[in-house]
C-alpha cells in the first residue's frame, strides 16, 4: 500500500526551556539526500551548547530552508522532508514554537533584524561577505563591534566559515571614557561570548525561578553503605568502561521516586500543576569553563541502572565536548538508549543536581521552571551513624529536595525523600 510521500517541515526545535533561538551552523544533508530516522541532519548553535539535530522520520530532503549562520527563532522551518515509512504523530510544530516564530517577526531591538529569519523572509541568507569570506552573522556582528579584521581570522566552521568563537577574546568591554559601551549597558543586549550568553540564560531562568516559585527545602541523610557495596560487586568483574558510579544510582532512584510521587513530576503552567505522563529526568552537568547544561534522560523510570549509567556517561561526554544530541535536550521522543522515536518534544519533568561531586555536603537548589522539583545530592562521605544501637562508620549522603509550594506541601516532599532513601538503601531495587 503505497501512498504519496507526506511533506514535513522540520522546525528549529526547542532544546530546553530556556532556548528561544538558535543558528544552524552546519548542514549534514543536501537536497535530494535520503535520511533515516535518527540521522543527524544539522548542527545548531544555541546560547549554551552546540546541538546535533536528529531527524525523526525517514525520507528525502526536498528543500533546505535556512542557510548556515542564520539565527532563527524556535519553530522556524529548517528543512522540508518528503517523508516515507511509518507515519508518526504530530508533524506540526507545537503552538508555543509557532508563537515564538511570530514573536520573532516583530521583536528585537536586541538583535540584528537581518539575522532573524521569519516565515515571511525565509529565503536562505547569504553568509559570504563581499570579500569572499564565510562568517556567521554573529561572528560578523561581533567582529564589527570589536573592530576585528575578519580576513585575519581562521574559521573553524564548514568551508572555513568564521564563527564567533574563532574571534580573539574581547578585551575588557570598557570604552575610552570608562563607561561600559551602550550595548553592554542595555539589559536587552545580546551577550557577546557563549560563556556570557550562557550566564545570561542561567541568570534569566534562575531569577524567574526565585521570583515566581515559593520554594520549600527538605533534606534527608541517607545511608548508602549498601549501595556502595552493591556497586562494588557490580563493578568488580567488569572493565572500567562498564562500571557504574553512584551518580547513576542517584538519577535512577530519583526517576523511580518521581514515578511514585507524581505530584512532584511535571510542570506548573497557567496557575496549575500539570502532571506528566513520563518521567524525564534532567541532569545538571557543569562545564569546565563555567556554566552548566541540563540534558535529560527520557522516561528514566523505564531505564535500568546500567542503561542509566550509559546514558549519563554519554550525556556528560556530549556536554563536555560542547555538542549535545537533540534528543538529550528533549527534541523528539527517545527510547531507553536515547534513540529518537518520534516527533513529540519532551520537556524534562524533574532535575537532579549532584554537587557532591564538587565537594559540597549538600545543595539547596533552585528549581528549573516550569518544573516543580529539584533533587540534590551532596558528597558521599564516611560518617558516624547509629546502626542497631551502635555507632558505626557508614557511607552517608545528604539528599535534598527543593520543591514548589504552589504545587505541593512539605508532607509530599517528605514522602518523596523517604521513598528515595528506601530505594538507595535497598539498591537491588534500582
Amino acid at each position: 500500500m503505497s501512498v504519496a510521500p507526506e511533506q514535513i517541515e522540520y522546525v528549529m526545535p526547542s532544546l530546553g526551556a530556556d532556548m528561544d533561538e538558535g543558528s544552524v551552523i552546519e548542514w549534514h544533508v543536501a537536497v535530494g539526500d535520503r535520511v533515516a530516522r535518527g540521522d543527524v541532519v544539522a548542527r545548531v548553535e544555541t546560547d549554551k551548547s552546540d546541538i546535533d539535530i536528529e531527524i525523526w522520520r525517514d525520507g528525502e530532503v526536498e528543500e533546505i530552508l535556512v542557510a548556515p549562520g542564520r539565527l532563527v527563532p524556535v519553530g522556524t522551518p529548517l528543512l522540508r522532508l518528503a517523508a516515507s515509512g511509518e507515519a508518526v504523530a504530530a508533524a506540526v510544530q507545537p503552538d508555543d514554537a509557532r508563537e515564538a516564530v511570530e514573536a520573532g517577526s516583530d521583536r528585537a531591538p536586541d538583535t540584528d533584524p537581518d539575522s532573524i529569519v521569519t516565515p515571511s523572509s525565509r529565503p536562505p541568507a547569504v553568509v559570504r561577505s563581499g570579500t569572499g569570506l564565510w562568517a556567521t552573522p554573529l561572528a560578523r556582528r561581533t567582529a564589527a563591534e570589536q573592530g576585528v579584521d575578519l580576513t585575519a581570522v581562521v574559521g573553524s566552521g564548514p568551508n572555513g566559515a568564521i564563527r564567533r568563537r574563532d574571534l580573539p577574546a574581547a578585551d575588557g568591554a570598557v570604552s575610552s571614557d570608562g563607561a561600559p559601551p551602550a550595548e553592554e549597558a542595555s539589559a536587552e543586549a545580546r551577550p557577546r561570548t557563549r560563556a556570557d550568553r550562557m550566564r545570561r540564560a542561567i541568570a534569566d531562568r534562575m531569577s524567574q525561578a526565585n521570583r515566581d516559585i515559593p520554594h520549600y527545602f527538605l533534606e534527608r541523610q541517607i545511608d548508602v553503605s549498601a549501595l556502595m557495596d552493591y556497586l562494588g560487586r557490580v563493578n568488580s568483574d567488569v572493565e572500567v568502561a562498564d562500571r557504574v558510579v553512584p551518580a547513576a544510582a542517584f538519577v535512577r532512584a530519583t526517576a523511580l521516586a518521581a514515578a511514585r510521587h507524581g505530584e512532584l513530576n511535571g510542570h506548573w503552567r497557567d496557575g496549575a500543576f500539570v502532571p506528566s505522563g513520563a518521567v524525564n529526568v534532567a541532569v545538571a552537568i557543569s562545564l569546565r569553563g563555567g556554566g552548566l547544561v541540563t540534558p535529560q534522560i527520557q522516561q528514566a523510570d523505564t531505564v535500568g541502572l546500567i542503561a542509566t549509567m550509559a546514558r549519563l556517561k554519554a550525556m556528560t561526554l556530549e556536554a563536555r565536548s560542547g555538542v549535545l544530541r537533540s534528543t538529550s535536550m528533549g527534541a523528539g521522543s527517545a527510547d531507553p538508549d536515547g534513540n529518537i522515536t518520534d516527533a513529540a518534544d519532551q520537556a524534562s519533568t524533574i532535575t537532579v543536581t549532584n554537587l557532591g561531586e564538587r565537594g559540597a555536603d549538600l545543595v539547596h537548589g533552585v528549581i528549573s521552571p516550569p518544573e516543580v522539583a529539584l533533587v540534590g545530592f551532596g558528597r558521599i562521605a564516611q560518617r558516624p551513624w547509629v546502626v542497631d544501637g551502635q555507632v558505626q562508620p557508614r557511607h552517608m549522603v545528604t539528599a535534598t529536595l527543593a520543591a514548589d509550594h504552589r504545587a505541593t506541601d512539605g508532607a509530599t516532599g517528605s514522602r518523596f525523600l523517604a521513598t528515595l532513601a528506601r530505594l538507595l538503601e535497598t539498591p537491588e531495587e534500582l
Partner: protein
C-alpha cells in the same frame, strides 16, 4: 606509536596522566607536569566521577595495566598511580 607497555617511571606515568586529563579537562592539561606527585589531582583539577572513569579507561588503554575497581579510590595522586602502574 610505540607498543603498549607498562610505564617504568613516575615521569612516564605523568605523561600517561597528561594525555588522559587532556581528553576530559584540556583547560588544566598544562598543569599536569608541574603538579606535586602527592597532591590529589581530582581535587586540584576539579574532576568528577565521570572524569575519573574516563581517565582510568584511558590509563588502562594506554598502559595495558588493569585497574580493579577496588583500587580506584586510592589512585588519587600521581605517586599512587605510579605505584600501581609500575608495579606489574
Amino acid at each position: 606509536m610505540s607498543e603498549i607497555s607498562p610505564p617504568t617511571s613516575l615521569a612516564e606515568v605523568r605523561n600517561h596522566l597528561e594525555r588522559a586529563i587532556g581528553a576530559v579537562a584540556p583547560d588544566v592539561v598544562d598543569e599536569v607536569q608541574s603538579l606535586d606527585a602527592d597532591l590529589d589531582f581530582f581535587e586540584e583539577f576539579g574532576l568528577d566521577s565521570m572524569d575519573r572513569l574516563t581517565i582510568m579507561e584511558s590509563l588502562v588503554a594506554g598502559t595495558g595495566v588493569a585497574i580493579p575497581d577496588e583500587v580506584v579510590p586510592r589512585l588519587t595522586t600521581i605517586q599512587a598511580l605510579s605505584d600501581h602502574l609500575t608495579s606489574g
